[in-house]
């Protein structure tokens, strides 16, 4: 069921940044993550997408040492850390889904403290804190208590704290959730910059656009199971084979459903309203006969627009199919669980 594509544009001689094999996490009866295997290559941005409750945060927690896998194995930069992840934590930077710095410390103190946890000496951590506050546009609020930061400032400082020790792998759990458009874009630019300078990034997000902009490869997680891992290009290609044209007309499109279906059996007609309709086909559809038919019925076509498939379509298709399949499985008596 899992399709995994390696997207051979990258060399495979480098050791994987993360290699997870059959990772599973159970919370009592709940299998939050269920036998997940994937590899994140050194230097790539790897997106981890899935609906709420799919197990993304739980997976990050296992990869970083905040949760112990129930079973499975894990290698970080070539080291087996299934039993003891402490030695790998030095290479990791973690930005959790909630900004969890110290509310009573100011921005500067928070960064310096986080740097000290990674054994960075005073002079260097102060220089680094200054540099990051500057980079993230927080220099003017450096001496303000974290508790008094706005949500966007908190997020930026939390990301700065995650990279203060120059980690080789950066984990980000929904870095831009709840952030205004401009700040989110700024954060994305920072992340792209970090990746360009060599940091491997593991990112979860609910923003398809974010994944589309940042990620080299994307994994889809549904209900604890990986259903697809592929490069962005391949993922979009799969739905690109479907062609969708949206027509706008003067009106009366609904009554055209049957005549159209009879005349163009290869098309799938979806009436959005009296004036808008979508046509889905597997092959490019000649529009002239279609428009002619409509005109014969005295409907003026005012616009015909090709709808480009987006990652969102891929996401909905993959997660939707998977959820539907699971529902079917659950309904079959022989697989019904107690």
């Amino acid at each position: 069921m899992l399709r995994q594509n390696d997207g051979n544009e990258m060399s495979d001689t480098r050791v994987a940044a993360i290699a997870a094999h059959q990772l599973t996490k159970c919370f009592h009866a709940v299998r939050a993550v269920d036998g997940v295997s994937f590899e994140v290559r050194d230097g790539e941005v790897f997106g981890f997408l899935g609906p709420n409750g799919a197990g993304k945060t739980t997976t990050i927690n296992m990869l970083t040492g905040l949760a112990r896998p129930t079973s499975g194995s894990l290698r970080i930069l070539g080291h087996d850390v299934t039993r003891n992840i402490k030695k790998a934590q030095h290479w990791m930077g973690i930005v959790p889904d909630e900004s969890n710095l110290y509310p009573e410390l100011d921005g500067w103190e928070n960064l310096c403290f986080c740097a000290s946890l990674y054994g960075i000496r005073r002079r260097e951590r102060e220089a680094r804190a200054r540099e990051l506050l500057e980079q993230f546009g927080l220099a003017s609020v450096a001496r303000r208590r974290f508790a008094a930061y706005s949500k966007g400032m908190k997020r930026k400082l939390t990301i700065a704290a995650g990279i203060i020790h120059r980690p080789r792998i950066l984990f980000l759990d929904e870095p831009t959730t709840g952030i205004d458009v401009a700040s989110a874009r700024e954060i994305r630019q920072r992340l792209a910059g970090l990746n360009q300078s060599g940091t491997t990034i593991f990112l979860t997000t609910h923003y398809i656009e974010e994944a589309e902009r940042l990620c080299h490869r994307i994994a889809f997680l549904v209900d604890g199971r990986l259903v697809r891992v592929d490069t962005l290009a391949n993922l979009v290609q799969a739905v690109q084979d479907k062609h969708t044209v949206e027509l706008s007309a003067s009106g009366g499109l609904r009554r055209m459903r049957d005549p159209l279906r009879n005349a163009f059996p290869a098309g799938d007609f979806e009436e959005l309203s009296e004036t808008r309709m979508r046509v889905h086909t597997d092959r490019p559809l000649p529009l002239a006969p279609l428009i002619r038919l409509l005109e014969e019925h005295e409907i003026q076509v005012t616009e015909a627009r090709l709808i480009r498939p987006s990652l969102e379509d891929v996401f909905l298709e993959i997660t939707g199919l998977e959820l539907a399949r699971m529902k079917n499985d659950d309904n079959r008596p022989e697989t019904k669980s107690m």
Partner: protein, 244 residues
């Protein structure tokens, strides 16, 4: 070296965020002062003051340490900032020692408030100072670790504080601070020997006026044993519950 920097970073942060905050300092000073005055004013002679000193010192440590962990550990766990520490590349042992050593230091400093006062009111010659310092340190460590165990077993800060009182007040009476254990009702006596403070108080009595009941070596061994046990059980609990 990395561990050292992390240790000092954590200790310094806790000192500044919690221990050296004005309310805590005044509380840390006023509390031992109040105990000291309350007991000392009632005693007319210098001998009395000396005999009360070990009990007052033990009280100061007990109240200066156990509930601190409710803040430095339980509170940070609730705010999720504790996760940062668990994700840092330092061992859990070092991390928890860093989180507790502030309380140990604070408790030990509190213990010397009554000593300084007593020095003005009574003759302290004959006190075995090295023993006193060792005793204070061990009592501070064991009380802190008791607080740690409570802090890692509860979810809410108020629970940690309630439970530490649940232990502290009985210990004041059971551990031989102000009257000897053999004056306790029979069935309570074995209970006293299950509490680390009993051995600590005995060491303090021995150091201040040579009235310890158990051999010094037994007291030291028992205290070290309690410290290790409390610390290891607390770490085990963190590994089981907090690294899920």
């Amino acid at each position: 070296m990395n561990g050292c920097i992390a240790y000092w970073g954590i200790l310094r942060k806790d000192m500044r965020s919690y221990y050296l905050k004005p309310p805590n300092i005044s509380w840390g000073l006023i509390f031992p002062l109040a105990w000291t005055l309350m007991f000392f004013i009632r005693s007319e002679t210098a001998v009395d003051i000396r005999s009360l000193l070990p009990g007052v010192m033990a009280l100061s440590i007990l109240f200066g340490t156990t509930s601190m962990l409710a803040v430095t550990v339980t509170f940070e766990k609730r705010g999720r900032s504790f996760e940062r520490l668990l994700l840092a590349p330092i061992s859990l042992e070092l991390l928890m020692w860093a989180k507790t050593s502030g309380a140990v230091f604070f408790g030990a400093v509190n213990a010397f408030v009554p000593v300084v006062m007593a020095a003005f009111l009574a003759d302290l010659s004959g006190v075995i100072w090295w023993q006193l310092i060792v005793a204070v340190t061990l009592v501070a460590i064991s009380s802190t670790f008791l607080g740690l165990l409570i802090a890692v077993c509860v979810k809410e800060v108020f629970e940690a504080q309630t439970f530490s009182n649940f232990f502290r007040f009985p210990m004041v009476f059971l551990c031989g601070l102000f009257f000897p254990i053999d004056q306790l009702p029979g069935p309570l006596q074995p209970l006293a020997y299950l509490l680390p403070l009993t051995y600590g108080a005995d060491l303090l009595h021995e150091a201040v006026q040579s009235t310890g009941r158990l051999p010094v070596a037994v007291n030291l061994a028992a205290l070290v044993g309690f410290c290790l046990l409390l610390f290891l059980v607390s770490l085990h609990r963190i590994r089981q519950k907090w690294i899920r």
